[in-house]
Symmetry: C4
Subunit: 238 residues, 4 copies
């Protein structure tokens, strides 16, 4: 098991220089596989380019597979690792290649990007991450309350604008579900311009809906600010 | 009155298991009625589908009517309940069905969604809700002041852009009222793109109007953040 | 001078019931004149309607003129009143009618709306207004610094996008001045859609410009929040 | 070296009246050169106008060159000045004129605008600038963490919308890179309207992406607010 422990240390700790090289290489490979996937979506690629991308992909998946199998093998509780969030992401990154279910699921590989957050596992960033987690914990009930209330407001806005605009713009505001799309893009102030009210009632209704929309943006901002301040204060407490 | 008290406890308290089942079922029925109403607005529905939706609607309204009548009966002060916010919402949810005044008012039923907020009536959420109410109380005068000032600014922006753009785009900026719609969608930064200035004067005016618009978004956010922090501090005070 | 003092008290104090009636009537008249002006901008007005609006306007301006002359007369220092902000607004509200310089300047009347803020001159709102003024004073240098930096960033964004997009879209990004309009509507996230980059360089540049834009929205919000909190804390200090 | 010290004091200190006049003139010249450059980008300029702009440009660059050479000469460590941020900006402002590489690089001159921030070098503004720098230092790790997480989320949004919309809108969502542009303009809520989802899956995905987008705007705002408050508190500490 000496070999097993060495491999474990190589993959998970960041103390020895070899471990850091391994971590750095895996992260570099994640970035590479993400970039090659993006390039592969470009139209008008030449045959040789497609070949090169394909080979890089094969090699990358092979290395990821070896890494995954090693991780399962060295983990004290393999079952727990396989079912954990990290474990599932790693599996989703390599499985589509073997199941050959089409181009789409290879996109799952991009979820490995979330592992890049581990790159910031230095003491300083740990402190910042913990402060965020603490802030989220402090504001947890308020965030959930806010989510529920926003969803209800979103739906009521959709229904209201459907009532006002359905007759005047039957092609756009076809149903409450179509109006939900308008509610989302308007309340978040994105405002693509693909749907907007043209009746007077619809415009007045939108005015009130937008006043509430401001509240929707203001609330989580206020929440987070006060929670972060509380989290920070808790640290400096005498 | 033992029966009356039992029904009262069943509808309003959440202590016994039966009461929780009743509450859960009513909430589930609210969600169902909202979903079926949304589906009924979809175009191109087949005859059988319309039939099914209609039957679900009839059954749901019947159950809501029974629930409403029970609530009125068991309440110690029925008149107060009927005129209360919850009472009016519940009545608005079932009345359109009996008055048969058209499809539109059935949308009122969606207001019952606001009752879903009662689902979060756990101790933890109560604390969050109370914190919000306290924050709103602390910031009450500032919020009203902010509202009055924004309305005045909205109107002045509308009048200004009308002055600048009316000649160049008579179809768009037809009157001050039409320009008010531009002011609303621009100051909230939604920016649909259905109306925008094309004259130099209009663009410069919009620049200043937007600088103030930033202030409009910043102020309630700052207000809420400081009020929430004050509310939170009031709780932890020694 | 007993009559002069009585009129002074009638116009400026709000203690006696008559004074409050006078204040309320003047405010109501301001709102009325603003509404009639807005209606007068509507196209397709009938002759009788235009007549009615004209008469209301004549009567309103007459009352405003009397009020203005009274205010000048009863003020201890008339010159100071005439040159003060309120005095100039009141004069601007009635002058266009006498100078008959066209429809446009009657819009100045709308500035009287700013006097409506005086309606909130109750103790509670005074406290909120003073808190805002205190917050603005605390954050004054930071706000000015923020303004200067934003203007510079706005200009640099305009110049950058001109460099990237001028060749590809010569009609849209005609000059640095035209690009300034793009910078304003993009950095405030309004995004009308009348101008946007289509080159790769322009899009990448916009990405960085928008990251800074987020900072532009975040900074005054953070500024105001911390200043309001400081202002509030200054009040509760033991 | 008396002359050298005098020139040094003239250029860098702001104590004597001559030094202030020099500083004011240089700043005025920066503004002038920026305005003339902007005007030179306007189409349809007459020959005489182009001549005047050209002469102003020549004179301005000559003065900037003299100023630059003087600064290098009087600086105790010329090499350090040449390589410093200010030094490079000053050089970039005059070099394109001599290298004659085309109209484009003259835009570099606009970077001199950043030197205008030095105009605010009064005690009061110093305090505000220092407070900002302190706030940025306090929030440094959180800002970097936020940046990394946003970039990952941006990429995942781009990949997701590509997956949903590529088939339905092959011209718009051509590749993951094209979709990245959509992700940027949507998550910052600019919403030009040049690209938006039309499939149901795409719209639902966008809803979730926008919910996260709200978080992206809320987080730096909350960060900055709490950091500014902490910086301000650190000043008033007994």
């Amino acid at each position: 098991m000496n070999f097993k422990t060495s491999v474990h240390r190589l993959l998970n700790s960041q103390e020895t220089r070899s471990a850091r090289i391994v971590a750095f290489s895996i992260h570099g490979l994640i970035l590479l596989s993400v970039v090659t996937f993006s390039i592969s979506t470009l139209p008008d690629l030449g045959q040789s380019e497609i070949m090169i991308l394909r080979w890089i992909e094969i090699i990358t998946v092979l290395i990821f597979t070896v890494e995954y199998l090693l991780r399962v093998w060295v983990d004290k509780r393999p079952g727990k690792f396989i079912l954990s969030f990290s474990g599932l992401i790693d599996l989703a990154a390599i499985l589509p290649f073997y199941i050959a279910s089409g181009l789409d699921l290879r996109a799952m590989r991009a979820l490995r990007l979330l592992r890049l957050v581990r790159m910031l596992k230095l003491a300083k960033y740990n402190k910042a991450i913990r402060r965020f987690q603490k802030a989220l914990l402090i504001a947890k009930e308020e965030m959930i309350l806010f989510c529920v209330v926003s969803l209800i407001l979103l739906y009521l806005s959709a229904m209201g604008i459907y009532y006002f605009e359905h007759v005047a713009q039957p092609e756009r505001f076809k149903s409450v579900f179509h109006s939900l799309w308008w509610a989302v893009t308007t309340l978040t102030t994105v405002g693509y311009g693909d749907m907007f009210p043209i009746t007077v009632g619809g415009k007045i209704f939108t005015f009130f809906v937008l006043m509430i929309g401001l509240g929707i943006i203001a609330i989580p901002t206020g929440l987070l600010a006060s929670a972060l301040a509380a989290a920070r204060k808790g640290e400096d407490a005498p």
